[in-house]
Amino acid sequence: MTYFFDTLPFPDGSRMANIWKESWVDDPEDAHLAIGHFVQLPDGQHADVEADFLTSHLPLQVGGFAGVYSDGNPWLFVLQIVPADASAFLAGDDDPLWAARDALDRALAFNPGAEMTLELRWTRNDLIRAYEEGGVQAQQVSDWPVAALLSGLLAECCYVPLTDIVDGYPTGCAFLGIDHACELDVFTDVFARWQAQLIPQPSEPVTTGGEDQEIGGSPRPEADLLEDAERAGRPSCPQCGAQESRRIALGRWGPRTPPDWQCSFCGHMWDDPSTTGERPPWMEGATEVHALAELIALTGAQTQQGLCEFLESATEFDFDLWLDLDGAEPDITLIVGILNQGLGLTFPFSLGELYATITGLEKDVYAASPEHGRDD
């Protein structure tokens, strides 16, 4: 799939949520070694915040990525490079990677629950071999700094082939021939497009012109993707690429524009400015829908699943949200389970009540009304 994803032992369902790189200029006089550490974060920690927190205390880091397992537990992978003689010269340590290991150890002291579980090491030649495995000829990257070699392998994690990255390196543009706001740095260009959710992932093939094209090949213009979607009647999810979207209309989306579409596969919601249509009649005054939209906006979540994760992070309970907006009447049910306390109970919540509870701040968010309780 990609070098890092193949090398690291990710279980099924793991998801990358953030990727970054630092500006770094190798001193050409030094031989640099690269080292990567996989860090398991404690349950409930926020991968994005913790990645930024940790790397702020790592002066040798050049980049990394963070995400969550299928059960929501967070992890991060951070890359550092160190001049081969720095540890011996500055600290008198024979281990040339001591400086990077010590830096991580020092940073992890500020997050006592985090644990480094895997270390990977590379010389410059190791990294060039990784490019060769990705279809790149060694002489194409033989003069790249070590930091650039690592950045390219990171960019590959955004499902842009190494060959495209290498081809774009001289011009600083990863998407030649595609109309986009170029970052003028091939790696940053890839990261920016990935964060804008404009790079499809390889799990779902995209149909173009009657031929199947595996995603992970050259990215296609947004205009083409939209055209395909119009043809199919349903747009592809910009997050996961699945064509399982359905039209929704939430009454209010806090201060934001209501989203038009929701992916049935991953739950992502998005607004498609090219689509128009009448809102369903139940939208006006639909208290539950208002409550759901307000709750999602209020908590900073992006999806129904995000809302459930938010609520779970605030409580010790499991939340499930059932949303069916296809029918004539909206059907929304939030179920809270306290199975982890061995009680085996679930409570269907009124979202309007939950909204009032959170905004009123008079009760805990998980304080279900007794009249809603039932034995499961």
Binding site: G44, Q45, H46, D48, V49, E50, D52, F53, L54, T55, S56, H57, F110, N111, P112, G254, R256, A297, L298, T299, G300, E309, F310, S313, A314, T315, I358, T359, L361
Partner: protein
Amino acid sequence: MTRGPRQGLPAVWDGYAARTFRLPGYGGAAVFLRSQVRPARASGANGTALAFDVGLLSPDRVTHYLARSAGLGFVERLSQFLFRAASDFHPEKSLPTFIDEAMGLTVSAMSSTDARVAIEVTMIEDPGAPVLDPDSIDFETSRAVLVVASHDLRRLGRNGTDGTLGQDLAS
């Protein structure tokens, strides 16, 4: 055959975990709290009470204030403040500054977006001094982190009534 202490059953203290609280932010900043029980002779209170070590961390410094006494209901009040900071649309406008005069701690929401809140944490270096010398850090964190922090904070202990053993720690 005898076993060394690390080869046999775990020692009783192996299961011990300090009660600590950590509020991390973007940019390497964090606030730490650690609770401890202090006797009356040390705390100056009417009885045994909870005190707190407070740590302020940024990438270029870390400062610890040790064994600070806390005002009534400190844990609950700060927990509620953090939850409101996470859930209010504009906490910088709607949320009053959290102040614990006994500890010399002030926390306020400075700005916010849909996903993030910027907070400022200030400690008075010596609350008893005639001229107060504030030490503060400010940083952004996510609303989700604030909710988790609000929940985690309650593990530090309770000092909900008058902070003394008979009415709080044993309740």
